[in-house]
């Protein structure tokens, strides 16, 4: 769908790399431009494949950069900048998540119709634009942190790098929107910006509602997950179930006396009396397998869940049946999260640092091999 587009990816964080991965999954040709010998920051960030960390073994990098080409270029040298302008002139989109100030002027000169994408923590203007952020800081300022975690403890961030992936998704959709503007006008100056604070403020669907309409800010609350034999589950009985769900559930429990218990007759009551209900269920749940509970309860039309560990996901029948995972060199990668006309796109494995130098510099940009070798010797490439 985007296979007519060439993307220059200058990003150094999870967010920008995930953006260009999503573009690649729709067919865009992504060239990752990395610092000579150092490479993308995530090459040095774990998790790693081997105990002895070396930069080609970062699983974070490998996951984020499937389906891309990698070239090395020092864009802070004069000859590097000249090459960079050549690159820009044949590209449609450039992604920057490092606040590179030079970029805008380069783009103006070499390719006015280029879509220039800027990912930042707080945006390019406004009172925090010079502030230093990061995933945790952004989650705090956007209000997400305050509502997460237990009431008796400090606010807790959403785990892993999920906050940064969110920003990557935001930029992906922002780029596609701006393609419609670029395709229909020749104005140039196609700048699209997103930030951690905007994306994560959007990623809350209750907070602004409760503080304005209920007059109460959201607060942290106790966990509603119950402990099963081998992990954690939620029963999903308090919302989104059918009329006969409760009766069927009591039969699974072998506790028919609960069917007419006035505390649990409706979803609303089960929500209101959730802690009493959980008290009753606790012992039963503790002796069951988490995935068995999930399937049993889903089959009587609840929205039950179980906390899937990565190992569980790799064995999920549903994900396997849909061929979600992509096998690369014996490892299962989470695949592209959509299927179009029954086809799930797949992406090639992530490139080694500078793997596509010759292909891009010589074949695409028309440099002589001997020139590229000279640039390599001087550390520009």
């Amino acid at each position: 769908m985007l296979d007519d587009l060439r993307v220059i990816d200058l990003s150094n964080h999870v967010s920008g790399s995930y953006t260009s991965k999503l573009l690649a999954s729709l067919g865009a040709h992504v060239i990752k431009v990395e610092k000579p010998s150092i490479g993308d920051r995530s090459r040095n960030i774990g998790p790693f494949l081997f105990k002895s960390m070396y930069k080609e073994s970062s699983l974070l990098f490998r996951y984020l950069n499937t389906g891309k080409n990698s070239i090395t270029l020092d864009i802070h040298t004069i000859s590097g900048q000249k090459i960079f302008q050549d690159l820009i002139s044949i590209a449609d989109i450039v992604i920057d998540d490092t606040n590179n100030e030079l970029l805008e002027s380069h783009v103006k000169v070499s390719n006015p119709s280029m879509i220039l994408c800027s990912i930042s923590d707080f945006g390019k203007s406004g009172p925090y634009s010079e502030f230093k952020g990061g995933d945790l800081i952004n989650q705090g300022l956007s209000g997400l942190l305050q509502t997460m975690g237990l009431p008796s403890k400090e606010p807790l961030k959403v785990g892993g790098n999920a906050g940064e992936y969110a920003v990557g998704i935001s930029m992906f959709s922002g780029i596609v929107i701006s393609l419609f503007s670029r395709d229909s006008s020749s104005l140039g100056n196609n700048l699209v910006e997103t930030s951690g604070i905007q994306t994560l403020a959007l990623a809350q669907i209750h907070n602004s509602i409760n503080s304005q309409f209920r007059g109460q800010d959201n607060i942290r609350r106790e966990s509603s997950l119950l402990k099963a034999k081998n992990g954690w589950v939620s029963m999903g009985l308090a919302i989104g179930s059918r009329d006969d769900t409760w009766q069927n559930f009591c039969q699974i429990l072998e506790m028919p006396e609960l069917i007419n218990d006035e505390r649990f007759l409706s979803m609303e009551l089960r929500r209101k009396n959730e802690s009493e209900l959980n008290q009753i269920l606790k012992e039963w749940v503790l002796n069951q397998d988490k995935e068995e509970i999930y399937h049993k309860l889903q089959n009587i039309s609840t929205i039950a869940g179980y906390v899937a560990e990565p190992e569980d996901l790799l064995q999920s029948n549903q994900l396997l049946e849909r061929e979600y995972f992509n096998n690369q060199e014996g490892m299962l990668y989470p695949g592209i999260p959509f299927v179009i006309d029954d086809l799930r796109p797949t992406l090639d494995k992530a490139p080694l640092l500078g793997e596509n130098n010759i292909d891009i510099y010589c074949n695409l940009l028309g440099y002589k091999l001997s020139d590229v070798l000279l640039l390599h010797q001087s550390g520009v490439v």
Partner: protein, 418 residues
């Protein structure tokens, strides 16, 4: 004003959160979004017809009023920029009307449990017969295929089944949920890009398509590196609280004031010495145990106590200014109201001032982007149930009064819940 999608018409059969977010966002750029409900099955966001005192639906000033389904806050918040019509899709005559709408629409989007549209005769094959170039987006919990395709979920379920909860929790404790159903807005935001990419291809080649989006699969995408790590020789703990191996110390620290907190994240040795200076703890700078990021990570618990000692008697906003002036990553943990009043979000025009005719004034979540060439539209407040029936059925589909009134009196369409 944005007229980017002026000629785009979207039939929106989604409800709850993910789908409504998608159409809300595209609606900010001028698309005509027609939200289809029925008077017997409204969007769950509209809450119960007769709310009991125990209801968890949120109303302005906690007052449901005479037509609570029109002012339920969750409906108001995510069904902006849409036209609202009602149509009984299980009824033969209702089906005829939606088929007419399908003929003149560009996008069809739904997020029912997988097999509901088969039952309604609104699956992709049926819809494609009526409009071969339509872009059909199906957003479902588990995708459109597989034995579990009819499983249902909310965002809080997806956090579990998509593995996000397995990496969210305090250091070495138990998995926790976000309390903000994080996957829902993610799916909503992501679907914007996928649907518009499909439309772009249609503009170029005239070809529609069927998009099968599994909400669980997108959620698993957000923990990709953990999935890979679980297959490697090196396994590190997944529950890290607020700490981070390459930013140490990093955490959330108690400040003066009720449930007031600040985030601080130290990226290198230089920043550590700046922090020590600000805290007046210069003796820590050369302390061997805290020398490198790795050392500080190892000793983070005791460092956290030292930092808390310093922050707990100070105001979070003053601390943020002080630390940011010294070029240290730090920020307040903002409460709901503070986020709405936040000077940065307001300067980016993230919130719109909306005056809803029945629900009153409030600030509306908008879009996470700034574009140089065009701006999003101002928010058009959420519509009442069936508010646009006449406009769509008479002005656009051209039903005469007789037919329209016939459909009304037979409850095929209607503005009041049954």
């Amino acid at each position: 004003m944005s007229n980017l999608f002026d000629s785009l018409r979207i039939l929106d059969l989604t409800q709850v959160a993910a789908g409504p977010y998608t159409t809300m966002l595209i609606g900010y750029f001028g698309a005509e979004v027609i939200k289809i409900e029925s008077s017997s099955r409204m969007d769950i966001n509209r809450g119960p017809v007769k709310p009991s005192p125990a209801t968890h639906t949120v109303y302005p000033n906690n007052t449901p009023g005479k037509t609570p389904w029109n002012i339920a806050a969750h409906h108001i918040q995510r069904n902006v920029n849409k036209l609202c019509i009602t149509l009984d899709l299980s009824n033969k005559e209702g089906k005829e009307q939606i088929y007419e709408l399908i003929k003149i629409s560009d996008v069809f989007i739904e997020n029912f449990r997988a097999s509901v549209v088969d039952r309604l005769g609104l699956d992709y094959e049926s819809v494609k017969k009526i409009n071969p170039s339509i872009v059909y987006a199906k957003i479902s919990s588990q995708g459109n295929t597989g034995k579990e395709k009819n499983y249902g979920s909310l965002g809080s379920t997806l956090e579990q089944t998509g593995g996000l909860a397995s990496v969210t929790g305090y250091l070495n404790e138990k998995p926790l949920l976000t309390n903000e159903t994080f996957p829902d807005p993610m799916v909503g935001l992501f679907s914007v890009g996928i649907i518009l990419s499909a439309l772009r291809r249609r503009q170029m080649y005239g070809k529609g398509c069927f998009i099968d989006m599994s909400q669980r699969e997108l959620t698993v995408n957000l923990i990709g590196e953990h999935i890979l790590e679980s297959q490697s020789d090196v396994k590190t703990p997944k529950l890290l609280g607020n700490s981070h191996k390459i930013y140490a110390p990093q955490g959330v620290y108690k400040c003066k004031g009720d449930d007031d907190w600040i985030t601080i994240s130290i990226g290198n040795d230089n920043e550590w010495s700046i922090l020590c200076n600000i805290m007046n703890k210069t003796n820590l700078i050369d302390k061997n145990e805290y020398k490198s990021t790795f050392d500080r990570y190892k000793h983070q618990k005791e460092i956290d106590e030292i930092i808390t000692d310093w922050t707990s008697s100070r105001s979070k906003y003053k601390l943020m200014t002080l630390l940011q002036q010294a070029n240290i990553s730090a920020g307040v943990v903002a409460k709901g109201r503070e986020v709405i009043d936040d000077p940065q979000l307001n300067s980016l025009q993230f919130w719109d001032n909306v005056n809803h005719p029945d629900a009153g004034k409030y600030k509306q979540v908008t879009t996470p982007w700034v574009f140089s060439n065009f701006t999003r539209n101002n928010t058009s407040p959420a519509h009442n149930l069936g508010e646009d029936n006449q406009k769509i059925f008479q002005n656009i589909l051209g039903l005469d009064n007789n037919k329209y009134n016939y459909l009304l009196s037979n409850n095929v369409i209607g503005g009041n819940p049954l």
